[in-house]
C-alpha cells in the first residue's frame, strides 16, 4: 500500500488550520520539596483548591493544601524525575476522567487510561471526578429491586436500585464473590456495572476480570483498578473516578451498579497522603475529614427523580474488618453512611455456610420497599425464624429432651440454613428463589433429609422448568405469587417422584450428587 504525499500534507494542512498561535501567560511556581507522591511548591499565588497543575516533566498533580508559603500537591504519575527547583504550572482546570459508553468492557486506571492492552478508548465526554451529589428535590425513594441472585441477600437483606449497601467482613470471607456474583446476575437486567478495585492484588483483579469475561459480564461492565503498586493519590481518587463514570449513565436515565472494593484501603491511602501533607492526625491517625471522604462519595449514589430521567446508581462499598471488629473507626463511619450492611463472618464461612452472611447483624434499611410481592410473602418471617434457630441451636446442644415444637423449629432452621447456601458464580433468578423459599416456608422440606436439600433444590428447579414453566413465568412477569393451590399441587407432584438418598436403588448416583453439593 502506498501512501500519497499529497494526502498527508492535506491532512496536516487541515489540522494546522486549527492551530491558533496565542501567547499564553502561564502562572508558575517552584518545587521546593518532592517525595512519596507529594510535592510542595513555592509561588503559585492564585492557585485554587483542587486545581490541576502540570509539572515540567509532564506529570499532573492536584493542589491540596494552600498555605501561606507553599502549596501541597499530590502527584498522579511519575515523580521520580521531578527535582527541587522545577517549574509547576497552573492549568485552570480540575481533574477530569473520560466517560461514556466507550468505556464499557474495558479495564482502566483511575485517570481513565486503558490498561487492558485493547488500544485507545475514543471517548468524547469527560466529567470532573469530584461532583456534588444530587440534592433532595432531585431524588426519589428507592422502589425497584436490584436482584443480586443470591438467596441469602435477596431474601434477607434486599437491595433496591439507588441504595448504598455496605458489605463488611474480615479478609477471606467472600466479600468480592458477592460483588462478582451480583455483577454476573445483572445480565439482561438493563444495568451497567462499574467494579472499582482499590489496592487489590493485580493477580486477583486479573482473576475477577477473567471470571466476568467467562460469564459474559464484561459486556456491561467497566473495571477500574488502582493496584497496590500505584502511589497513594491514585488509590485515593479511584472511587471518585469510578463514580464519575457511573454518574454519566445515571444522569442519562440508566441504572448503574458500582462496587468499591474496598474503601478501607482507600482510607489508608488518604491517611498516607494527609500525613505527608502534614495535616493533623486524629483517631487511628486518620485525618479529621475522613468521614467526609466517604460520605461525599457514597452520597453520589442515588435514585434520581423521574424529571431527571429516573436513573439510579446503586453502591456496594466494601470494608475489611480486622478480627470481626466492626466498631473500629472506618467501619462505624461507613455503617452510619450507608442504608444497611451485609455482615460476613469467618466462622460461618469456614463451617461451610457460603455466602457467610450473618442474618442477625445484616440489615437493609430501604430495600424491603423494593422487594417483589412474591418474595415479600415467602421471605417475610425468614429472618426471625433464622434468628430464633440460632438462639435455640446453642441451647439444644445441652439436652435431647425437647418438645415437639422446639424440635420442629430446629428442623426448619437447619433446612433454612441449608437452603440459603449457594455455590460460587451461580446466581439464581428471582422466581426460582421464590420457589425454593416457598417450599421451605410451607413445610415441604421438613421431611427431606438435610443432606439431600441441595439435590432436592436442583431437581425441583429442573422439574418446574420442564413441567410448570407457567408458574415461574407468573412470578417473573407479575411479581406476584401464583395461586397457592397450583403451587402446592406442583410441588406435591414433584415430591412424589423424589426419593431421599438411601431409599433409592441408584445410591451411587446420589452419593456423587451429594459429594458435589458438599463441596459447593
Amino acid at each position: 500500500m502506498s501512501i500519497k504525499a499529497e494526502e498527508i500534507s492535506a491532512l496536516i494542512k487541515q489540522q494546522l488550520e486549527h492551530y491558533d498561535d496565542q501567547l499564553v501567560v502561564d502562572e508558575v511556581g517552584t518545587v521546593t520539596y518532592v517525595g512519596d507522591g507529594i510535592a510542595r511548591a513555592h509561588g503559585l499565588d492564585n492557585v485554587m483548591s483542587n486545581e490541576l497543575l502540570e509539572f515540567s516533566n509532564g506529570s499532573y498533580g492536584v493542589a491540596q493544601n494552600l498555605e501561606s508559603n507553599d502549596v501541597g500537591i499530590i502527584i498522579f504519575g511519575r515523580f521520580d524525575d521531578i527535582r527541587e527547583g522545577d517549574q509547576v504550572k497552573r492549568t485552570g482546570r480540575i481533574l477530569e476522567v473520560p466517560v461514556g459508553e466507550e468505556l464499557i468492557g474495558r479495564v482502566v486506571n483511575p485517570l481513565g487510561q486503558p490498561i487492558d492492552g485493547l488500544g485507545e478508548i475514543k471517548t468524547t465526554k469527560t466529567r470532573p471526578i469530584e461532583f456534588k451529589a444530587p440534592g433532595v428535590m432531585q431524588r426519589q425513594s428507592v422502589f425497584e429491586p436490584l436482584q443480586t441472585g443470591l438467596k441469602a441477600v435477596d431474601a434477607l437483606v434486599p437491595i433496591g436500585r439507588g441504595q448504598r449497601e455496605l458489605v463488611i467482613g474480615d479478609r477471606k470471607t467472600g466479600k468480592t464473590s458477592i460483588a462478582i456474583d451480583t455483577i454476573i446476575n445483572q445480565k439482561g437486567q438493563n444495568m451497567i456495572c462499574v467494579y472499582v478495585a482499590i489496592g487489590q492484588k493485580e493477580s486477583t483483579v486479573k482473576n475477577q476480570i477473567e471470571t466476568l469475561r467467562k460469564y459474559g459480564a464484561m459486556d456491561y461492565t467497566i473495571v477500574l483498578t488502582a493496584g497496590p503498586s500505584e502511589p497513594a493519590p491514585m488509590l485515593y481518587i479511584a472511587p471518585y473516578a469510578g463514580s464519575a463514570m457511573g454518574e454519566e449513565f445515571m444522569y442519562n436515565g440508566k441504572h448503574v451498579l458500582i462496587v468499591f472494593d474496598d474503601l478501607s484501603k482507600q482510607a489508608a491511602a488518604y491517611r498516607e497522603i494527609s500525613l505527608l501533607l502534614r495535616r493533623p492526625p486524629g483517631r487511628e491517625a486518620y485525618p479529621g475529614d475522613v468521614f467526609y471522604l466517604h460520605s461525599r462519595l457514597l452520597e453520589r449514589s442515588a435514585k434520581l427523580s423521574d424529571k431527571l430521567g429516573g436513573g439510579s446508581m446503586t453502591a456496594l462499598p466494601f470494608i475489611e474488618t480486622q478480627a470481626g471488629d466492626i466498631s473500629a473507626y472506618i467501619p462505624t463511619n461507613v455503617i452510619s453512611i450507608t442504608d444497611g450492611q451485609i455482615f460476613l463472618e469467618s466462622d460461618l464461612f469456614y463451617s461451610g455456610t457460603r455466602p457467610a452472611i450473618d442474618a442477625g447483624a445484616s440489615v437493609s434499611r430501604v430495600g424491603g420497599a423494593a422487594q417483589i410481592k412474591a418474595m415479600k410473602k415467602v421471605a417475610g418471617t425468614l429472618r426471625v425464624d433464622l434468628a430464633s434457630y440460632r438462639e435455640l441451636e446453642s441451647f439444644a446442644q445441652f439436652g435431647s429432651d425437647l418438645d415437639a415444637a422446639t424440635q420442629a423449629k430446629l428442623n426448619r432452621g437447619r433446612r433454612t440454613v441449608e437452603v440459603l447456601k449457594q455455590p460460587l458464580h451461580r446466581p439464581l433468578p428471582v422466581e426460582k428463589q421464590v420457589l425454593i423459599l416457598y417450599a421451605l416456608t410451607h413445610g415441604f422440606l421438613d421431611a427431606v433429609p438435610v443432606d439431600d436439600i441441595g439435590r432436592f433444590q436442583s431437581e425441583l428447579f429442573a422439574f418446574f422448568d420442564s413441567n410448570h414453566k407457567d408458574l415461574l413465568d407468573t412470578i417473573h412477569n407479575t411479581g406476584n405469587l401464583p395461586d397457592e393451590k397450583d403451587m402446592d399441587a406442583a410441588i406435591n407432584s414433584f415430591m412424589s417422584g423424589f426419593s431421599a438418598t438411601g431409599q433409592d436403588h441408584a445410591e451411587a448416583d446420589d452419593q456423587a450428587d451429594d459429594a458435589k453439593s458438599g463441596t459447593n
Binding site: 494546522l16 486549527h18 492551530y19 501567547l23 501567560v25 502562572e27 508558575v28 503559585l44 508559603n69 507553599d70
Partner: protein, 181 residues
C-alpha cells in the same frame, strides 16, 4: 513545628522594612542589603559558619564584627540581632523578601528574558516598555540570558508568570496537535 525559612525571611524583612521606612532610609538600606547578598552569595558557607553551634562565640565574633563595620548603624544593629537569634543562614531569604517589598512599593518588575540571540539596547528598551505596560510597573529590570536552544522568539519570566513566545514551544505545540495528544 519549626518555622520554615520563607516565614522567617518574611518576618525579619517586614520589621526591617518598616523601620527603614520610618527612618526614611529605604533606598540606602536596600543598597546595603544588595551588598550583603553579594557577600553571602560569594561566600556560600558564611551563613552556616555564623550559626554553627560547634564554634564558640569568641570565634564567631571577629567575623560578624568585620562584616558589620562597613555598614550604617541601622544595618549594624540588624545584623547583630540576626546573629544573636542565630538566623544568619536565613539572611538571603530576608534580603529576597525585602527586595520584593521594595519592588512593590516602587513598582519595579524584575524580568528574566531568554532569547536565542543577544538583545541590543533598543530592543531591550522596547521590551522593557512592553513588560512595564503589561504588568503595570513603572520600572522594569531585565536580566537577559541567551539560549540558542529556543531557536527564536522571547520567553519572559516575571513575578511568577511566564510568557512563552519561543519558536521551540510553538513547535512542540504543533507536534502535539498533529499527533493528537
Amino acid at each position: 513545628m519549626a518555622l520554615d525559612k520563607f516565614t522567617i525571611g518574611r518576618r525579619y524583612a517586614n520589621a526591617l522594612f518598616e523601620l527603614a521606612e520610618s527612618k526614611q532610609a529605604l533606598d540606602d538600606t536596600y543598597q546595603e542589603l544588595l551588598g550583603i547578598r553579594q557577600i553571602f552569595t560569594e561566600n556560600k558557607d558564611l551563613g552556616n559558619v555564623l550559626t554553627d553551634m560547634r564554634l564558640s562565640l569568641a570565634e564567631k565574633k571577629p567575623i560578624i564584627d568585620s562584616l558589620k563595620q562597613q555598614f550604617s548603624p541601622l544595618m549594624q544593629t540588624f545584623l547583630q540581632m540576626v546573629f544573636d537569634y542565630k538566623r544568619m543562614n536565613d539572611i538571603l531569604f530576608m534580603v529576597d523578601y525585602f527586595e520584593a517589598m521594595y519592588d512593590k512599593q516602587n513598582k519595579i518588575i524584575r524580568a528574566e528574558v531568554t532569547t536565542a540571540v543577544a538583545l541590543n539596547a533598543a530592543q531591550q528598551e522596547k521590551l522593557s516598555a512592553q513588560i512595564a505596560q503589561r504588568f503595570g510597573a513603572s520600572h522594569v529590570q531585565i536580566t537577559s540570558t541567551v539560549d540558542p536552544d529556543i531557536i527564536g522568539g522571547v520567553i519572559v519570566h516575571a513575578s511568577d508568570k511566564v510568557i512563552d513566545g519561543s519558536i521551540k514551544t510553538r513547535l512542540t505545540r504543533i507536534k502535539a496537535l498533529l499527533l493528537n495528544r
